[in-house]
Amino acid sequence: MMQSAPFNYRRVIIWISRLVLAGIFIYAGYAKITMGRSPRPPLGVALGFFEMQVSSYQILSHQASRFVAHTLPFAEIALGLLLLIGWQLRVWATLITLIIAGFFASVVRAYSMGLQINCGCFAKPEPLDGMTVVRDGALLLLAVLMTVFVFMEARKPHPWNATPTL
């Protein structure tokens, strides 16, 4: 007879992190494509506007800003869905953590340089301030915890695959 996975705090944190981060990634990607407006503007206009926000961080070249602006929204939606599905979780959890680490580093750099820019996180005019840094830091912590716990749980044999003890 199959038995359910044992309940432990690591699994709870993994589930909560997956739901929270997947929700945020899907919403962020969708917001960048629609600019949070109804009716939504043409895709090119929305991505062009996001390109301006990416370039305002003064990190990437024009071509790199354009590449990020045209791929990140779709990547966010895809990664969010993959995180929800749970297939190859270790791979996608690691990738999402690296992406959030990149966001956090960019936000901290812009904040420490005193750049008066919009965050661009959810395509709405949202000035980058101390709260943005705290929020991104909290998300990074959650993503790191999730990834570490996913790897720790993966080492243990899953109860469904374990040799039944008679």
Binding site: G44, E51, M52, S56, H62
Partner: protein, 242 residues
């Protein structure tokens, strides 16, 4: 002895009468002489010396309160771009010199967009309001571009010594400068600067430069400076909208 006493009494009475006359005179009469001398020293132009300027504004593609002397391009352009800037802000200088001028060449002069220069002098800058007044006055005698360019290019100089008048005079003929000075002194165009500020607060403009793009009834405000290449990508998308 008696005649001398009479003379003294008569003198005292005359002086007293003169003093009472002075006291009884209306205040306007008393300060008239002071006023005249003040007017001479400040050399305020008489209303007749101030060139006739219009404070009328226009509406283009739904964008209201546009001072036509500070706007460029075809009024039938599908895209209207407003740039709220402060002459003393370094980021505004960067936007103007690196981006706006190339946008003027490639998008405004080709009729693709209608560009509106809005004044948004920040209270933290000591001279930006004065610079905005001179720029506005110059725009009303058809000299907007050279004066804006001079103000931005020499920003560090006049920021240090406050010599905005000298900076503007360097790119105008004496006759033009006389007209500009008369308009600035008359403060005729101040309401237009105030109108720009009030309009900016509705978006809201929280920093300069802020660029507001209008196309197909939608508004896209963007705060901060922009490279020409990045703004070009966005403008191409706006212009290409069917």
């Amino acid at each position: 002895m008696i005649p001398r006493l009479r003379l003294v009494l008569a003198s005292v009475l005359t002086l007293a009468a003169f003093g009472m006359l002075l006291l009884a005179a209306p205040p306007e009469q008393k300060s008239a002489q002071t006023k005249t001398s003040a007017a001479k020293s400040t050399a305020t132009p008489k209303p007749a010396d101030v060139p006739a300027v219009s404070t009328a504004t226009i509406t283009v593609n739904g964008v209201t309160d546009i001072d036509p002397t500070k706007a460029f391009g075809s009024k039938s352009a599908a895209v209207v771009v407003e740039i709220f800037s402060d002459f003393q802000c370094p980021a505004c200088k960067q936007l103007f010199t690196n981006t706006t001028q190339r946008v003027m060449e490639n998008y405004v002069n080709t009729g693709k967009i209608y560009l509106v220069h809005r004044d948004f002098p920040l209270p933290m800058h000591a001279y930006s309001r004065v610079a905005a007044s001179y720029s506005r006055a110059a725009a009303h005698i058809g000299k907007c571009e050279p004066v804006e360019l001079a103000l931005f290019q020499n920003q560090e100089k006049w920021e240090a010594n406050g010599d905005i008048k000298g900076t503007v005079a360097a790119v105008l003929s004496p006759a033009e400068m006389k007209k500009v000075q008369a308009i600035v002194d008359a403060k005729t165009l101040e309401p237009l600067i105030e109108k720009d500020k009030q309009l900016g607060q509705t978006f809201p403009v929280t920093q300069t430069p802020t660029t507001v793009f209008h196309a197909k009834g939608a508004t896209y405000p963007y705060a901060g400076t922009l490279s020409y290449e990045v703004m070009k990508d966005f403008l191409d998308q706006l212009v290409a909208q069917k």
